[in-house]
């Protein structure tokens, strides 16, 4: 388990491995082995010592058993033999009374006696006086008896064993001669025949082992009989007798003893007190210890087997440990290898990711990462704008070609660093490749804040730089697209910024350009413009662009706002912001106004001629125009000239216009209104007009300024303003038009708030007449159709 955890759980596994290494240390293994061997040695020594002790204990038990047995038998024999005293008294009595018949008491004694078979009495001369049962005299000649009596007298021994002829050796009678005496005077002798059958019956139940024996010896070391193999053996002197005799001689008379004889026997001996007999109890040591030896052998076998098993087990254990260690080492190595591999892979992955995300040269984000980051940024739903700046170095290819790629690369790096210097941390700076840099300015509160940044970038890049001892100046062109007005996704924004960049390049290098052309300000020479108005009208340099007005109720195009553009030969397309104020100041606005009216009428007629169903076109009327008392008359005259109805042309006046020149303005508006012209109040909310003021004017439509609409996305207060404005306008029976709608959110919000019409990039930016035809042929708009 550890091995896998080591692999899978990294550092935790390392700790476990260290633990294992501790187990595998050779010192510990030696220690373990030593400990194990010590246990084995202890077990063996303890067992052997115990066995030795047990053997001693058994032998000691044997000694006690044998000595006790010898003592009992010898005491029994003593009591048997000592009966001669009683017989002696009977015999003396009989002799003294001179009863020469049968000594009945002697007979009675022998009748009741089991140990003795026969009694015979002798006088001092050795002549038999009496016998209890007949026996041939030749077996015990008087001379022998006489000799024995003499011997008894001299030795004062209490008995003498009569030597038996060899022939009678197998008989079970042991004839013992006792002295008969009256007081201290020896009167003769008495023969008692000891029956060995008695001895056998006494011992028959004693288990002395197959090789053990109980012997009866004379004090001369002659064996009379021995109990062995379950019976009596007679007349064959065992080898132990001579040794026994030596022992007896060496010790006190009547002493008992116990010795370990030469032939592996343990022998206990005990003389029968006073009488010339010795009892021996002998056991074969091997036999007595046979059971113990078998047990001991078994124990040793068991221990040996256990030792072997233990050794084998321990060896296996060590082997296992070592194998495991080997595995662990291998695993360790492979783990390290894997780790290195993983690190390497990670590094490579990081490099790859970097390569995929960062531009290797400038270390700016590359296109991929930029797109990803920009997308994230765009999903933040707030009311703030984002600006995407597409920056391209002018004539970079030439620099590269002439000064070399090295300088080119250095220049790119320098540009990257300068770009970073111009921007906030939160802005996203990237290089798309070549000399294309793209910047996303995040969280821009006002669109006009973008302009200074663009100028700053162009200025910073245009600063001369020294690269490899070469002084170098480079200009850049910047195209700007604004979220959400120029696109609500990054692809659209990039596309539009790129387009803007090209238009910037076209209009001269070292410039910036908004994709929304209306934002582009051109510094036009005032004089030149003022001088050229008349000529421009004559040259047809002015054009009208149209932006559709959509009715929210059914998403239908119900009108167009005409917006004037000046296709100035020097400055490309100029927007009203660039020239209206100047023209107004120069007093030539009336001219332009006339032209716009004419152009609008002309366009309507042209579309009608083409068979298109037209919608009313609204034209912007400047305050200067509207204070001209002739304006209304001129207006209607123009309509008539083109045979148009008053409903075909609407006019839009700004708030500022209605504040000044009140009298004339009111008259004009009244005339126009009376003539059936629809009048809209443009840029409502920007100025200071109030509803009460509006009520006094013949205005039928309110156009809420784009600044309010742009804030709709998040700002609740603005939302409230828009909503309440719409509510109030509706109360005054005014049609409400929202300008500058850019997003779907705004669209939904305005629809819910009850707004009547909208106008803005969300549906369409202002377009040239040829492009607006699409809206006339397909007046029903959806968002998807707008995008086409």
């Amino acid at each position: 388990m550890n091995t896998f955890s080591t692999f899978f759980y990294g550092t935790g596994g390392f700790a476990a491995q260290k633990k294992h290494r501790a187990l595998h240390s050779p010192l510990l293994q030696i220690g373990l082995t030593g400990f194990f061997l010590l246990i084995i040695i202890l077990a063996w020594s303890q067992t052997l010592a115990q066995q030795k002790e047990n053997r001693k204990f058994i032998i000691h038990g044997l000694q006690i058993e044998q000595t006790n047995l010898a003592a009992i038998i010898s005491e029994n024999l003593f009591q048997v033999l000592d009966q001669n005293q009683a017989i002696n008294m009977i015999v003396q009595d009989w002799l003294n009374n001179r009863q020469w018949g049968r000594p009945d008491e002697v007979n009675h004694f022998i009748y009741s006696e089991q140990a003795f078979n026969r009694v015979a009495l002798f006088d001092l001369s050795g002549q038999q006086i009496y016998q209890t049962s007949a026996q041939d005299e030749y077996l015990l000649p008087p001379a022998l008896i006489r000799q024995l009596i003499a011997q008894l007298r001299t030795t004062a021994a209490p008995a003498a064993i009569i030597p038996i002829s060899k022939k009678a050796k197998s008989s079970w009678q042991i004839p013992i001669l006792f002295p008969t005496s009256s007081r201290t005077e020896l009167t003769g002798a008495m023969l008692l025949e000891l029956n060995l059958g008695y001895f056998l019956n006494l011992l028959q139940s004693i288990d002395i082992g197959p090789a053990g024996h109980i012997g009866l010896c004379t004090d001369q070391g002659e064996e009379l009989a021995r109990f062995e193999n379950g019976g009596l053996v007679m007349g064959s002197n065992s080898a132990g007798c001579a040794e026994l005799l030596k022992r007896i001689d060496a010790q006190q008379p009547n002493a008992t003893g116990y010795y370990h004889s030469g032939d592996q026997r343990l022998l206990a001996f005990r003389p029968v007190a006073q009488y010339p007999l010795i009892v021996t109890v002998s056991r074969n040591l091997r036999e007595a210890l046979a059971e113990f030896n078998a047990y001991r052998l078994q124990q040793i076998w068991v221990l040996a087997v256990l030792t072997l098993v233990g050794l084998a087990g321990f060896a296996l254990f060590l082997q296992l440990i070592n194998r495991k260690q080997h595995y662990l080492k291998t695993l360790d190595a492979s783990f390290t290898e894997n780790k290195e591999l993983i690190e390497k892979l990670e590094k490579e992955h990081q490099t790859a990711v970097n390569a995929a995300s960062f531009d290797a040269l400038t270390n700016l984000y590359n296109r991929r990462l930029f797109v990803s980051l920009a997308e994230q940024n765009l999903t933040k739903r707030n009311s703030l704008n984002c600006g995407v700046l597409f920056i391209d170095l002018d004539r970079f290819k030439t620099i590269n070609d002439t000064l070399g790629h090295r300088i080119g690369d250095l220049l790119l790096k320098e540009v990257a660093s300068r770009l970073r210097g111009c921007l906030r941390k939160s802005d996203i700076v990237s290089r798309f490749g070549g000399d294309e840099f793209v910047v996303m300015l995040t969280e821009i509160a006002e669109v006009k804040d973008i302009q200074p940044v663009a100028e700053k970038i162009i200025h910073a890049i245009s600063q001369p730089c020294r690269l490899d001892n070469q002084q170098l100046s480079v200009s850049s062109s910047v195209g700007i697209a604004i979220f959400p007005r120029d696109g609500d996704n990054i692809e659209a924004l990039l596309r539009n910024a790129d387009a803007a960049m090209y238009s910037a390049k076209k209009s001269g290098r070292g410039r910036y350009s908004f994709f929304d052309s209306s934002l582009n300000t051109v510094s036009i020479k005032q004089f030149e413009l003022e001088q050229r108005v008349g000529k421009a009208i004559a040259n047809d340099e002015f054009v009208l662009h149209f932006q559709p007005k959509i009715r929210l109720e059914d998403s239908r195009v119900i009108g167009l706002e005409a917006l004037v553009r000046w296709r100035h030969p020097l400055y490309e397309l100029l927007y009203p912001n660039d020239f209206i104020d100047r023209i107004e100041e120069s007093g030539q606005i009336g001219l332009l106004g006339c032209w716009v009216l004419e152009a609008a009428c002309r366009q309507l007629v042209s579309w009608r001629d083409q068979g298109l169903a037209t919608v009313p076109i609204a034209i912007n009327v400047s305050p200067t125009e509207i204070k001209n008392p002739e304006y209304a008359a001129h207006f209607f005259q123009t309509l008539r000239r083109y045979q148009l109805q008053p409903t075909d042309i609407e006019i839009e006046v700004t708030e500022s216009a209605i504040i000044e020149h009140e009298k004339v303005l009111k008259d004009n508006l009244r005339d126009l209104s009376d003539g059936g012209i629809t009048i809209s109040l443009d840029d409502f909310g920007k100025g200071f007009s109030s509803f009460s003021h509006i009520r006094s004017l013949p205005i039928s439509t309110l156009k809420i300024d784009r600044s309010f609409i742009q804030d709709i996305r998040s700002n609740r207060n603005d939302n409230a303003i828009v909503t309440s404005t719409i509510t109030l306008a509706k109360k005054l029976n005014l049609t409400v038009v929202a300008e500058g709608i850019e997003s779907h959110d705004q669209f939904i919000h305005l629809k819910l708030a009850g707004c009547d019409q909208v106008q803005g990039y969300f549906f369409s930016r202002p377009l040239p007449a040829r492009k607006i035809i699409e809206f006339l042929t397909n007046p029903h708009r959806t968002k998807s159709s707008c995008e086409q």
């Binding site: 009748y111 078979n117 049962s133 009678q173 059958g197 019956n201 197959p210 193999n229």
Partner: protein, 296 residues
């Protein structure tokens, strides 16, 4: 007539005298115990228990208690008989011969007639057999040279006398030289047990005792390997002590040989056909053997 009267008177007087004599004799004898003993062939108590119907019969008919003298050995029975300690008893053929040598008045008068046994044929004869265990693998007696052999009692016929004489003749050597160790076990049963328990290699026993051991299941026949069989031996005789009076002898003999129904159970237990009369001459061969033994 006078002569006839005198003769009648005389005969009546004689009869009266005889009657008186016998009556006084009977009166003297009645209630006096009769002493009995027998050679220890097996467990002595068992032997005595088997004979109890006979003792009961004798006590009942003779109106005298039978006192049993427990023997320690064959010799002790002989000595008891010689010293008149017992009045009658059962001896072995050899011990009868030994006793007869020392007191010629001792008389054998009856013996059991055995039924057919594993070794012994039916009749009043048996054998001394030398047997070993089949497992020991002996096939001839010669293989027992130097081995330990069990004997019974120095005064036993089949367990001492016959082996010492007849078997010694058979092997042509004295037994003491041929056999390693002669172990006297004191009874046939113990000798058989010694063989069975492996204490000795073989034993000389009575065929009748071996049969009994087989019968009692102490030894299965297929374990017994008979290595040698003696000539037939006449069964153990009932003998009278020389001290016992004629009349009592007569009565006892009559009762023992009567085949009284009271004895049938005993006969069945002992696996005997009955008790037959024997005479001293039936044991002549044993006398010869004892004489030969003395020469050995």
């Amino acid at each position: 007539m006078r002569t006839m009267n005198r003769a009648i008177t005389l005969s009546i007087c004689l009869f009266l005298l005889l009657w008186l004599l016998s009556a006084t004799g009977f009166c003297q004898q009645r209630g006096k115990p009769l002493y009995f003993s027998l050679i220890p062939k097996k467990n002595i108590n068992q032997q005595l228990a088997e004979l109890q119907p006979l003792f009961d019969l004798l006590e009942k008919k003779l109106q005298r208690p039978i006192e049993i003298v427990h023997p320690q050995s064959y010799q002790s029975v002989i000595e008891s008989l010689l010293s008149h300690k017992i009045d009658f008893g059962i001896l072995g053929p050899a011990s009868y011969a030994y006793a007869k040598q020392r007191d010629n008045q001792i008389t054998a008068f009856a013996a059991f007639e055995k039924a057919q046994g594993f070794v012994t044929p039916q009749g009043s004869y048996y054998y001394s057999v030398l047997f070993a265990l089949t497992d020991a693998g002996y096939s001839k007696p010669e293989q027992l040279r130097g081995k330990n052999v069990a004997f019974i009692d120095p005064a036993s016929t089949s367990g001492a006398l016959i082996p010492n004489v007849e078997f010694a003749d058979f092997i042509g050597q004295s037994l003491g030289k041929f056999i390693g160790k002669q172990v006297y076990t004191g009874s046939h049963d113990r000798a058989i047990a010694a063989v069975r328990q492996g204490q000795v290699d073989a034993a000389f026993v009575s065929s009748a005792r071996l049969d009994e051991a087989v019968r009692k299941g102490q030894l299965s026949p297929n374990r017994i390997n008979i290595l040698w069989t003696s000539k037939p031996i006449h069964y153990d005789p009932f003998v009278f002590s020389s001290s016992l009076d004629e009349d009592t002898c007569h009565q006892i003999r009559a009762l023992i040989l009567s085949g009284a129904p009271e004895l049938q159970n005993m006969f069945n237990n002992l696996q005997v056909k009955g008790i037959v009369a024997v005479s001293d001459s039936d044991y002549q061969s044993i006398y010869d053997l004892t004489a030969m033994k003395a020469l050995h």
